[in-house]
């Protein structure tokens, strides 16, 4: 039985009462406390979404609501050893690595880059002391666009996260790799990674967020990332999530994109019992291009949900959303893509596709592409498919001599490859290709 009444947050809910410690913290700047308070208020107002909420009708967050709320308040004393980390992916992708353990920055495990003029790459806590004005100006300025209780909770409780500022015209050569580790030792252990990425005019950045688990307790990661892209900026973001299958994962990705900028944001959802990505992009200047691209591979009883809101607020912009899912066992994929084209956004070119490949009779996909268009000279398309492997394509391959197993494998890899091929950064794409290839081979070996 699912809850159909809106969740009411009681005054004694630990999610409200745990906030005290920020108010008592004398080192907390006033402006930051105010931001936190507004987050708490938003959480308190909105609470947790229920299936009655149109934006959450396919994803029941009750298991998260019922989880004990145990925010991890300091860096765990017992840190993972470097040897524990080697099993994670992308560790050799970049010289720059920021490791967060249960939401706290772990300098001993991290490798910060050498100072570069016009570039600041550090943890948010450090940045708050170094560039407080910039953070006060930007933090939580995008993440208030939706009435999302989870984002409110993050804003109230975040401890740390990534901070990147690339000044106008600067380019960061190495990808910034952020590894978020849930130690997974205790049920309900909650972290709120908070990332702020500011890339000014004509500047360039590749940024990789990597969410993983060490243990297998039912933990909760509730992340928020805000992206500010100046005019003609170029940012490639890849979020890779392979947390433990008992873990819960919610992420908000908010972006504000300037004219002629290029933004690629890829989401790979492989892990977690339940993962939900709330992706919000505001296309704020003419001539820009935003590509939201994702792949979810689920099995057992996993649920992977991507919920998008792309707002065309200027003319001559292109937005493309491509999401493919490969779903096995009793798992479920959810895609909800809403494109909103303002009246001024003439010559919009918006495309949205969601394709789901079901490997079992019990797997399911819920897909809801949605267009809302108030301009009259636009090109907007959307499409969604849910189905088994294409029998005609299998026959075509077999008729050319490929055995059934190889034909199936080729099609499955191709289905994933469509998404992976859009990753611009060569090293990341190749590694991703290998990860997904291995995962699918494993899948094929067991079916």
């Amino acid at each position: 039985m699912t809850t159909t009444m809106p969740e009411v947050i009681s005054d004694t809910d630990p999610r409200l009462t745990s906030f005290d410690r920020f108010e008592r913290d004398a080192a907390q700047p006033k402006w930051l406390l105010n931001i936190r308070k507004s987050g708490l208020a938003r959480f308190s107002e909105n609470g947790f979404p229920t299936l009655l909420d149109e934006d959450w009708r396919f994803t029941n967050v009750k298991p998260i609501v019922e989880l004990p709320f145990k925010p991890v308040t300091s860096l765990p004393v017992q840190l993972p050893a470097a040897a524990d980390l080697v099993k994670f992916h992308f560790l050799k992708t970049s010289e720059t690595l920021l490791v967060f353990v249960d939401g706290h920055f772990a300098p001993g495990l991290s490798r910060l880059p050498a100072a570069q003029k016009g570039v600041l790459i550090t943890n948010l806590k450090d940045a708050i002391t170094k560039v407080p004005e910039l953070i006060e100006e930007k933090l939580s300025k995008l993440s208030t666009v939706d009435a999302n209780g989870f984002t409110g909770l993050n804003t109230a409780y975040f401890e740390d996260g990534v901070f990147v500022h690339v000044a106008a015209g600067q380019s960061v050569d190495q990808p910034v790799h952020a590894l978020f580790i849930s130690t997974g030792r205790e049920t309900g252990a909650t972290s709120h990674p908070r990332n702020l990425i500011i890339v000014d005019a004509s500047a360039q950045l590749t940024y990789l967020e990597n969410f993983v688990s060490l243990g297998n307790a039912a933990t909760f990661s509730n992340a928020v990332s805000e992206f500010f892209l100046g005019d003609n900026a170029s940012v490639e973001h890849l979020k890779f999530q392979e947390q433990d299958e008992n873990a819960f994962h919610i992420a908000g990705l908010y972006s504000d994109i300037g004219r002629d900028a290029r933004f690629w944001s890829h989401s790979l959802a492989l892990g977690s019992a339940l993962s939900r990505n709330n992706i919000r992009a505001r296309l704020n200047g003419p001539g820009l291009q935003a590509v939201l691209n994702g792949l979810y591979l689920t099995h057992h009883k996993q649920v992977a949900d991507h919920h998008m809101f792309v707002e065309h607020a200027a003319p001559h912009c292109e937005s493309h959303e491509y999401f493919n899912g490969i779903l096995d066992d009793e798992s479920r994929g959810v895609f909800h893509g809403r494109i909103f084209v303002h009246r001024v956004a003439q010559k919009t070119d918006a495309k949205q596709t969601n394709k789901n490949l079901l490997l079992s009779d019990d797997a399911k996909a819920n897909t809801k592409p949605q267009l809302e268009i108030y301009a009259d000279d636009v090109k907007c398309t959307h499409g969604a498919t849910v189905g088994q492997m294409d029998e005609k394509a299998i026959f075509y391959l077999r008729a050319r001599g490929l055995p059934l197993e190889i034909a199936r494998r080729m099609l499955m890899h191709a289905f994933a490859g469509e998404i992976i091929d859009r990753v611009q950064h060569n090293v990341i794409r190749e590694e991703l290709d290998q990860i997904v290839w291995d995962r699918l081979e494993e899948k094929l070996a067991t079916t």
Binding site: D390, K392, A393, F395, Y396, L397, R398, A399, R400, G401, L402, P403, L404, I406, M410, L411, H413, A414, F415, A416, G417, E418, D421
Partner: protein, 256 residues
């Protein structure tokens, strides 16, 4: 006289309870080109699909012997390994599968099955470049996903290109000429002609006589209501073009 390459004996087949082939018989020898013509719905494409091994059809009677073996017992890939090739009427788009990767895998599967060493990337590329000339394909074709976003003409040319690489013993061309303008038709037909040898055979299924101006068949068969009602030389095709199908199919209408 050696045994025929392909013998179709009294083939009856249908789909979902509907009979399509009603006792079709046909013999082909190596080195021959046969054309099958017939009006829409006469069973042309069904025959092609059954020969290639599509599983949607129910065979109720008859036999197909290929190189002395029961073709109908073989999986589609096994037929391909033994030299059967179907040029699809509607080639399938396979986004995400790179053309080179696909064709190299297909060729190497065939070579493996025939006890030949697999080709490495360099050897394959050399072979492919030579074969591309057969159908005048640009090289960037190979970098694209199989048939994805190809025009109708490009898809058909790609089928003949694959045929050139796989060097089938029995090629079945299912309306390869349909939907082609005259230049594309000429390229495709010339490609097919160049692939003809004394050891292979081509079964050309067509709706239009036009193709047979370029590909000269040894025999022309007229298919109607799922069986061959008339066989003749290449002049039969011209006669069909002139008079239509009615003059031979008229007496056959009751068969269904």
């Amino acid at each position: 006289m050696s045994k025929p390459l392909l013998e179709i004996k009294n083939l009856h087949a249908g789909v979902e309870g509907r009979k399509i082939l009603n006792g079709l018989s046909l013999e082909m020898n190596a080195g021959e080109v046969h054309a099958i013509m017939g009006p829409n719905g006469s069973g042309k494409s069904t025959l092609a699909s059954i020969l290639a091994g599509r599983e949607d059809y129910e065979i109720t009677d008859g036999q197909v012997i290929y190189q002395g073996e029961d073709l109908l017992e073989m999986a589609p890939e096994e037929r391909a390994h033994k030299g059967v090739f179907l040029a699809f009427q509607y080639p399938i788009e396979i986004p995400g599968v790179n053309s080179t990767y696909f064709l190299k895998a297909a060729l190497n599967e065939k070579r493996k099955a025939n006890g030949q060493p697999e080709l490495d990337a360099m050897e394959f590329l050399t072979l492919v470049k030579e074969k591309m000339k057969v159908v005048e394909l640009p090289e960037d074709f190979l970098k694209r996903p199989v048939n994805a976003g190809f025009s109708g003409g490009e898809k058909k040319r790609n089928e003949i290109f694959q045929m050139a690489v796989l060097e089938p013993t029995l090629a079945i061309l299912d309306e390869t000429d349909s939907g082609l303008d005259i230049d594309a038709l000429r390229i495709v037909a010339e490609g097919v002609n160049r692939l003809k040898t004394a050891n292979n055979a081509q079964l050309v299924i067509t709706h239009y006589q036009r193709l047979l101006n370029y590909i000269v068949p040894d025999q022309v068969h007229v298919l109607s209501n799922g069986r061959i009602i008339k066989t003749g030389g290449k002049e039969l095709a011209l006669e069909l073009e002139e008079k239509g199908y009615d003059w031979i199919t008229k007496g056959d209408a009751v068969a269904a």
